[in-house]
Amino acid sequence: VTPWLRRCAAVWRSSRIHDEIAEELQFHIDRRVEDNMRSGMSPDEARADALRRFGPRLRIHEDGYDVRRAAWSDTVIADVRAAARVLAKQPGFTSIAVLTLALGIGANVAIFTLVDAVLLRPLPFREPDRLVRVFDDLGGASAADVGMSVPEFEDLRDRSGVFDEIAVIFPASTALSGGDRVERIELLGTTPNYFELLGVRAALGRVYGQAEWAPGFIDGAVISNGLWTRQFGGDPHVIGRRIRVDEDAYTIIGVMPPGFRHPGQSLNGDIDIWAAAGFVAPPFPSPPVRNQRILPGAIGRLKSGLTLQQAQRRLDAAAAQLQLTYPKEYPAHLRWSVRLQPAQTALTGNVRPTLVVLLAAVSFVLLMVCVNIAGLLIARSSARTREFAIRRALGASRARLVRHVLTESLLLALAGGAAAVLALVAAQQALIAMMPADLPRLTEVHADWRTLTLALTLAIVTGALFGLVPAVHASALDPNRDLKEGGRNGGTQSLRQSRSRAVLVMLEIALSVVLLTGAGLLIRSFSAMLQQRPGFDPNGLVTGQIWIPVPNNPKANRYLQSAPRAALARDLLGRIGALPGVEKAALGRSNDIPFLTNVRSPFPFSFMDAGATPESDHAADFGGVTPGYFDALGIPLMGGRVFTDHDGDGAPRVAVVNEAFVRTFSPQREAIGRPFRDAGGREAQIIGVVGDVRDDGLDAPPQPHVYTSIFQNPAFALAVFVRTRADASTVQQALTRTIHDADADLPVFGVRTMDDLMSASMVRRRFALLLMSLFAAVALLLAATGVFGVMAFIVGQRRQEFSVRRALGAQARDIVALVIRPSLILTAGGIAAGLVASTVVTRLMSKLLFGVSAGDPLTFTVVPVLLGIVGVAASLVPAMRAASVDPSAALRAE
């Protein structure tokens, strides 16, 4: 037996080919070679002859080859079976690949399901693409969404020629009585055509319709599934029940299905009850007044065939016409206009940037998973070079081998997809619970056939993607050469493979640079946000809301006039301040609660000392607070004075403004002392300036805010502020009790600590940050394993070279350097490519950034350094292994 054969046999034994047929045929070839050589052929000739006998002239048909393995017919099923057998024989590789794929596909399916439900899926109404929200803006006062008056609504409905239907949507707090205690629920006042416009029906009973139009509120009301189960125990005989809402009697005529949600903003949670009105009789002004914008908004259905742009142009023309007809109500410089927005965009537009970025990030993760598994497959296929070479020699066509390799990849990917779907379905509820609760359309998020289809598609695409490289390798085999090389070190095939793997690893590093940069920018934004001072002291501050019912019949309204409301405010303040454990107490309006963003709406006003000029007209958020409000919240007084108990009825009307107000509206003139008139015709004088409060969240600039005295301008939606050491639930009980002592018909709700409210205001940002960091961590891990894999592979290939070098006197550190150098080059290349890509990609994130630029130097320094360290660290182990090769062992093997 020649040394050549011994080596051949050694290679054979060490190879991981378990393909029995290949082994049997190899045995045959070797015996032939042996006999040929015994009869005098040179080793090369002997081998060539042995192969030739199997070669082109004498091809064994693949069908024959596989007779033993399976009742082989040339079908996909047989391919799949063969692939499954191969995969089952390598449980380690297979489970790692399937787990990684399940992670990648699962994360993508989860995020896509979210994006699909929130952004892509049409709203669940009839012809949803024709649904639009209608907003009125006062461009001259830089005020958006100021609401509309009833005559303006009637113009849109009757004369604009744009809408098939248009309905008022008027969310309001109401008090539902009749239970153990009065409960605050959210009512949506609509015109009677609301449900017809949306094209939805009740799950139980019926909805109201245009035929029931009445000038005031109609008797029939529709309740939500939530209220039905919560308040009426899901009673199927609830239809016809009489209920009292804000002390008015209504009859329940319908219960909406559980999936139905009003496609618009609400004040405080979901809509509980829908009530219809004509809005032209009490409690609304009768007759309606053109410049009293009492309606918060409207939703419309465009006439069929009309595009949004065409409709908008017609409305612009109509608005211009109205300004000519009513010059007093629509001063030209206020630039009153009506704006249309697709209902879906209006509902979900503000979460779009976050979701789009997350979707992009998660698809990067999947791409990395693909790259990683492609790397694994290449490593594996190098061990299978001999098997493929034999099969080529036995007559398998290139296409055949490619199909074989692709089948294996697809099988892996499908297994990963299936695992992902199973995990997602199992964890669905937990995952949805992790989402920010204020995410619009969250209730529509669920796994269904679309999820399945997506998982399947992703599996097929990824399988094809990561199977491509090894498939190309398999097809590029040259049976004559590669049989000889047979997976030996340094062959052309393995060179080709290590080159492919190097490219893949660079790609991986580049992708992880992009993901890490994205995550880094979000982290920087978050910490920049946390460094913002809220403008008040949230520690130990508890807030809650009180709703003063507004009955439709003015005569039944005990608080219709402002005097009794002011008296109520004084009474409540005294009672709350006397509660045990309460250090300071104050009252305000619901829009004076910081971080409670969806209760704000700008209210126009004009300075009286500026004449009727464009400079005089502005809009700001108007509050109404007790004198102790600023002290209780810890808002500093910057100039002038705050209110006293004497700023009540009969005293001159006064106002305190914040610094943002001064900056925006009175930068040149001393604000203190300036008189203004609000859109309701009330006049007041500015007496003080206080510090800004970041009302709309730490990451939003403070908006102009006008505080009036609650005794002069008492609201129906009251806010309570209590500085205390007690916890929120204790405060809630104490507050509810003491307020009900004053008036048992006042619902108390929304009692929360200020810390809680602040943290809720960051929940979306935290959610994006958490996911992005998670993706970046996965990316880093994948990159590290990728680098490790390719370096270990290269070291394995160059073992012999290293031992020769060692034998010739190279030191261990020389060998380490020899290994680290290419990994450094790979890493550096990947980082460079990744940084270039990042500068482009992070620009798409600009809407998510706060206090940091998309090209943040710190992030763009830390990320490459981090990846450099990871790259070196990941190649250290293979380098050590290379340095520890036994100088004599490899020589002996040669």
Partner: protein, 119 residues
């Protein structure tokens, strides 16, 4: 190429095996004892005194086919030079089949001989 040496005679000029006879030859070769694929080919060639050559391209498909019919069995064993090799043995069914085919073949060659020798 084309070198004619004692160990590996050039048999490209030998007649092709009639359809279906290879199976019979394999069974015959195995009736003399278990053997691996290479040995079967060699054994047939030797018995035919190099007048026949079994092509690798048909031998292995034939082996697998016959094994599926249950006429032969296979298991891994060690060859004479201590290499792992798949050895085939004749099963009881195979032995019966060989007897049937031998008888058929004798009858067939006898009949064909008669026809061809007719003057």
């Amino acid at each position: 190429m084309g070198r004619n040496t004692p160990g590996t005679p050039d048999t490209r000029g030998t007649p092709d095996l009639p359809q279906g006879t290879l199976d019979m030859l394999v069974l015959k070769a195995l009736s003399m004892g278990p053997m691996h694929g290479y040995g079967i080919g060699q054994r047939i060639q030797q018995l035919a005194e190099d007048l026949l050559r079994v092509e690798e391209g048909t031998l292995y498909p034939a082996l697998y086919r016959i094994e599926r019919r249950g006429w032969i069995d296979s298991e891994w064993g060690l060859s004479d030079n201590n290499r792992r090799a798949r050895f085939y043995t004749l099963t009881r069914a195979g032995r019966k089949q060989l007897a049937v085919e031998t008888a058929d073949w004798a009858q067939l060659t006898f009949a064909i001989g008669k026809v061809m020798q007719a003057s």
